[in-house]
Symmetry: C2
DNA sequence: CACAATTCAATTGCGCACAACTAAATGGCT
DNA sequence: AGCCATTTAGTTGTGCGCAATTGAATTGTG
């Protein structure tokens, strides 16, 4: 058709970036799975703990904003963290819609054991701090561009079956 | 304790790279979700189709090697593609353990409609070809390093509860 | 040939991600 | 005050990813 030379090359290129991204993300998952086994939590649960350690107790909503996750993901995850004794959930007194997620003493205590995790991860990547920063910056650009694309270019064809 | 200066900075840095990776991967997912809606398949299903379009009919095993996925993921996914009429699964005659995944005519035909996808994705990223290649190369390095780490450094503590 | 080890796909079970929906509480508006 | 839109969590349903197990077929070895 009116497309550029080798159309099948495009089908390959495209796979490259997103597939590579995906593969890297899953490879990280494997490493975290092993390292976090000691702590008895999964990687997404670890992310929640990181946010709570950094910002203190937060309502589910705020937690979701930090992590780009909604209640459909967070509700069951937080329930598991509560079962594990790391977190408590209490309906806010001043706004009954909101649920405050609070660290228990065990949750706070876990931080100490978690502090060795980042270095082990960094070691596993074999990248130095600057390389990691550069890559991270690039990925964040990408994410921004993609987010923008979802909300601008694409809704053009919102109307269909 | 005996750790370096700002321990909590490490807890942040670490989140950066993997979280950024994760976020980018999910952002891609959103874009693909919208673009692939026309084709009636998900992104992982699209990846399977890409491999089949490029390499022709393949046993599940080979498919898994290309995609780094095992039968636990592929079996149900392929069943859905079969239900959608894009693929057939037939036990190999020469090795009854193996299942050949074959494109149906519809599966082959879908390729034409898929050929516009990569350009739309590329446009959504806002990156040019060189930038994408560079990033991809970096991510593949990272994946290799992480894979190696899982199989060398970590099995040291294979023995536990 | 017989038997053990390996290979391959499928299944089960768990957790995450996300869309769509529900239910309750809140805030704004008349 | 009364009503309605919005906000906030939770629930349901679907699909992916992975560990662990199962069962059948194949290969290797004595």
């Amino acid at each position: 058709m009116d497309t550029s030379p080798a159309t099948s090359d495009w089908l390959r290129l495209d796979q490259q970036i997103c597939f590579s991204l995906n593969a890297a993300s899953r490879a990280f998952g494997s490493v975290y799975r092993v390292i976090l086994k000691d702590l008895g939590i999964t990687y997404p649960q670890y992310l929640v703990m990181l946010v709570l350690w950094e910002h203190g107790d937060l309502p589910v909503k705020k937690l979701g904003e930090h992590l780009r996750l909604d209640s459909g993901t967070l509700s069951p995850l937080l329930k598991r963290l509560e079962t594990a004794g790391l977190v408590r959930r209490e309906r806010s007194a001043r706004d009954e819609r909101s649920v405050e997620v609070r660290l228990t003493e065990e949750g706070v205590a876990l931080r100490e054991r978690a502090e060795r995790v980042p270095r082990r991860i960094a070691a596993a990547t074999g990248f130095d701090v600057d390389e990691i920063s550069a890559l991270r910056a690039r990925l964040d650009e990408l994410t921004s561009a993609l987010d923008a694309a979802v909300h601008t270019e694409l809704p053009a064809e919102h109307r269909e079956s």
